[in-house]
């Protein structure tokens, strides 16, 4: 019950400021979130592809930003469940 194929390139990485076991990472195939420091993970932000980077607000752990390789910025206000593109 792992998550990523071993050869998947991980482009971006971010950690929850309140629980360091909660990590996010960005790959060409989309965004992933792990509740247990990377032992297991699941995809988040369905439909997002070519993800390059991800960041979590240090003050508001539910506020997460991600960028595609091309620079489209997406924001989540619920810790990665739903995403909207920044205009």
């Amino acid at each position: 019950m792992g998550s990523l194929p071993t050869n998947r390139t991980v482009n971006g990485f971010a950690v929850s400021p309140v629980d360091p076991r909660v990590i996010y990472f960005a790959t060409r195939d989309g965004l992933f979130k792990s509740p247990d420091a990377g032992v297991g993970s699941k995809p988040i932000g369905q439909g997002l592809k070519n993800m390059a980077a991800i960041a979590v607000s240090p003050k508001r752990p539910e506020e997460v930003y991600a960028s595609t390789t091309d620079g489209a910025i997406f924001k989540s206000m619920d810790a990665g469940v739903t995403w909207s593109r920044q205009p």
Binding site: S3, P5, P20, P58, T68, D70
Partner: protein, 206 residues
């Protein structure tokens, strides 16, 4: 034995989370937003106050004060006006302190929220920095992943004042480096690396 065993080893296509934004809508928005001028994005980070978002790209460093709706280019060096920004690490306690790793000029540090910058490369064996991690418990302690010349992981314990090579680093090209406040059980915390060969972490008493 590799210093960075893979964290995520086996394949699983987990169930997708229910997303309130339609899948096709998001994908279409992403397609429509190509070419903002960043060319190739490498890094994203927020300052300690959660106000300023920094973005590192092939075309330089950018900052946004409105959650990524608009961006301003940040000139870090008159000598290097077009830096390829590979990594960004913000001090978790002091919003004025930001570190940036570049493809061609090493590490830059700002102590005034990104207004002025200085190169902090003493001890680095090379200037192609692909990852920068700041220790969440001891913000003056950093690790930098250097590629090509002088390849390896370097550590600074004085906020970038001096770097010492401490490890060969993970296998595969490093894309991102991060110190994660999860105990190794050996008195340290883990250093994670996102690489071309997956997510890896080192428990090597960093």
């Amino acid at each position: 034995m590799p210093r960075f065993p893979r964290v995520l080893a086996t394949g699983l296509m987990a169930l997708a989370l229910v997303c309130t934004v339609p899948l096709r809508s998001l994908a279409a928005q992403g397609e429509a937003n190509k070419g903002q001028g960043f060319e190739h994005v490498h890094a994203l980070a927020m300052d300690a106050e959660g106000r300023t978002l920094f973005l590192g790209a092939h075309t330089g460093l950018f900052r946004s004060e409105n959650g990524g709706r608009s961006w301003q280019n940040v000139v870090m060096s008159e000598r290097h006006r077009y830096l390829d920004v590979m990594a960004i690490a913000s001090d978790p306690r002091d919003a004025s302190v930001i570190y940036v790793g570049t493809h061609e000029a090493g590490v830059f540090k700002s102590a005034d929220g990104g207004r002025t910058w200085k190169e902090v490369n003493i001890g680095l064996g090379g200037l192609d920095v692909h990852g920068l991690a700041i220790d969440p418990n001891v913000p003056a302690k950093l690790h930098a992943a250097v590629r090509e010349k002088g390849e390896g992981v370097y550590r600074s314990t004085d906020g970038g004042g001096r770097w010492v090579r401490v490890d060969d680093g993970p296998g595969g090209e490093v894309k991102v480096l991060s110190s994660v406040n999860v105990s190794t059980g050996m008195g340290g915390i883990f250093l994670y690396a996102g690489t071309a060969e997956g997510l890896q972490r080192s428990a090597d008493c960093f």
